[in-house]
């Protein structure tokens, strides 16, 4: 057949255009329409699988969820790094019974602070039977929201949520109480230069003068809060476990803090600091590997960081 062809005039495009002429007959479309209608009806009658709604919902939610999850992940990483690596962080002794001490603190009536008449600015409630301690804050709208959760899953596992609360705590709590919370800045707002404060703490610090102008008694009441919380910390710390929790400002080194603790134990006799049991304890505490090895497990889930000691 090829010998019959005049090859000089036809291009590949011409040949491909021939395909346009390949069309089904008219009656084909009657059958096509009938089948399509039947399929349409069957689809409309067919019950949708239960997971379809979830899948579609997730698909719609995904564009908004991804940035949120990403931001929370970053927050969690920053928070965990602060908790484990920061020199300004809380020093948690692996030898102490954290559950006892913190539960004692959280359930203590003296830890309830009243600021601004009947408004409860900061309150801590303890759940002796349960495993979750929660701290609540009454916002402007009047509703309470949980600022932080402390969970005890074993004797020495602590989980802290919502790092944004730290700024508020820094503003109203005495530093040795703030030290209870891993990752806390551990500074009193009024005691430190502004550059060292977290953004939320800075905001609170900025608002405090305005609040003081409006309510002249706020300074006095903040003093009461600090004093009462300080008492509660002193009460839980007790003579039996004087060094379970210590805290200091971000600028002081761990060695300084430990020296301060030792000095408190042996007032007026710094020469004997490195002698005897205190010296041994200090030597032990000065081991740089102590904190990393004390944290046996670090878990990040959602906006929560979990530390197992």
């Amino acid at each position: 057949m090829k010998s019959d062809l005049n090859q000089s005039k036809v291009t590949i495009e011409d040949l491909l255009k021939l395909k346009r002429a390949e069309r089904p007959p008219v009656e084909f479309w009657d059958n096509f329409d009938r089948n399509l209608r039947a399929k349409q009806l069957a689809t409309m009658m067919e019950p949708k699988p239960w997971w379809l709604g979830l899948a579609l919902g997730w698909k719609r939610f995904t564009p908004y969820a991804l940035p949120t999850v990403g931001a929370l992940a970053v927050l969690a990483v920053v928070f965990s790094v602060q908790s484990v690596g920061s020199d300004g962080g809380a020093v948690l002794s692996s030898g102490g019974n954290l559950r006892e001490t913190a539960s004692g603190l959280l359930s203590s009536e003296t830890s309830r602070a009243q600021i601004g008449g009947t408004d409860e600015l900061f309150a801590m409630t303890g759940d002796e039977a349960g495993k979750v301690e929660s701290r609540d804050f009454e916002g402007e709208g009047g509703g309470q929201r949980t600022l932080a959760n402390v969970e005890w899953q074993g004797d020495q596992e602590i989980t802290v949520g919502d790092a944004s609360v730290i700024g508020l705590m820094e503003a109203v709590m005495p530093q040795n109480l703030v030290a209870m919370l891993p990752g806390a800045g551990l500074h009193l707002v009024t005691d430190l230069p502004e550059s060292t404060l977290s953004p939320s703490a800075r905001t609170i610090a900025g608002n405090l003068p305005a609040a003081a102008e409006w309510d002249h008694s706020i300074d006095a009441r903040l003093g009461v809060v600090r004093a009462s919380l300080g008492e509660s910390v002193a009460a839980f710390a007790g003579p039996a476990q004087p060094q379970v929790l210590t805290a200091s400002t971000g600028q002081t080194s761990r060695q300084d803090r430990l020296l301060a603790v030792a000095s408190a134990e042996l007032p007026g006799n710094s020469e004997r600091l490195l002698a005897g049991t205190v010296g041994e304890r200090l030597t032990h505490r000065l081991d740089d590997d102590l904190i990393p090895t004390a944290v046996r497990r670090l878990g990040v889930g959602g906006n929560r960081v979990s530390l197992r000691f």
């Binding site: 057949m1 090859q7 040949l15 491909l16 021939l18 002429a21 390949e22 089904p24 084909f28 399929k39």
Partner: protein, 211 residues
């Protein structure tokens, strides 16, 4: 029909007309989204032949093409509430059809059963046949049949992506930009695929064409 195909080709390529077509479709889509389900029939009537043509030229099987065309319309109908009008309905529908066809062809890779439509003896076909055949060739029908077979064989030797580009550009008359929008490839990729596919077809059909 030949002229209507040409008109259709012009409609698809010319952007102001294409925009007008997209606007008209969008109005109908909004009616369907508003609950007027019967309005979807207008879209079916408008696009069924074009869509069938694309799928048929990709699968080379009439029954598969009919099924896939119907499935594409069903999928479009089911998802019409999610169509926001960011692209033309035409592109969106073609995208659904192309994706369904890809899935089908991948599943039935080993099966090679072809069933062809009759090639209508239209002006363009006659012209080509006249050019190919000597004037005294009596059996034009035989030549047409042979040509159809060879063309389809050559098309099936192309990869799915190359076949898609050739079908959409050379047979359906879509522009490179439209094909890029439908397939999700860049215009450069579309051009490159088209060039490569035509080279392959040229070598397969060299007995019938000039370079």
């Amino acid at each position: 029909m030949q002229s209507s195909v040409k008109v259709l080709g012009k409609t698809l390529v010319a952007s102001p007309e294409r925009r007008g077509e997209a606007d008209a479709d969008w109005v109908v889509v909004q009616r369907v989204q508003g609950g007027e389900v019967a309005a979807f029939d207008q879209l079916i009537l408008k696009y069924r032949e074009r869509l069938f043509g694309v799928i048929y030229n990709m699968t080379a099987n009439r029954e598969d093409a009919a099924d896939l065309t119907q499935d594409s319309f069903i999928k479009a109908f089911q998802s019409i509430n999610r169509f926001q009008g960011q692209s033309s309905f035409f592109s969106w529908l073609y995208r659904i059809a192309i994706n369904s066809t890809y899935t089908h062809l991948r599943k039935s890779k080993l099966r090679s059963f072809f069933s062809f439509e009759k090639m209508h003896d239209e002006d363009h076909v006659s012209e080509v046949i006249n050019q190919l055949a000597d004037s005294d060739t009596a059996d034009r029908g035989a030549l047409l049949h042979e040509l159809q077979e060879k063309l389809n064989e050559a098309m099936q030797k192309l990869s799915i992506k190359h076949r898609t580009v050739v079908t959409l550009h050379e047979i359906e008359g879509l522009s490179h930009e439209q094909i890029a929008e439908i397939t999700g490839a860049t215009v450069g990729t579309v051009r490159s695929r088209l060039h490569y596919a035509k080279q392959l077809l040229q070598s397969e059909l060299q007995g019938y064409t000039r370079l």
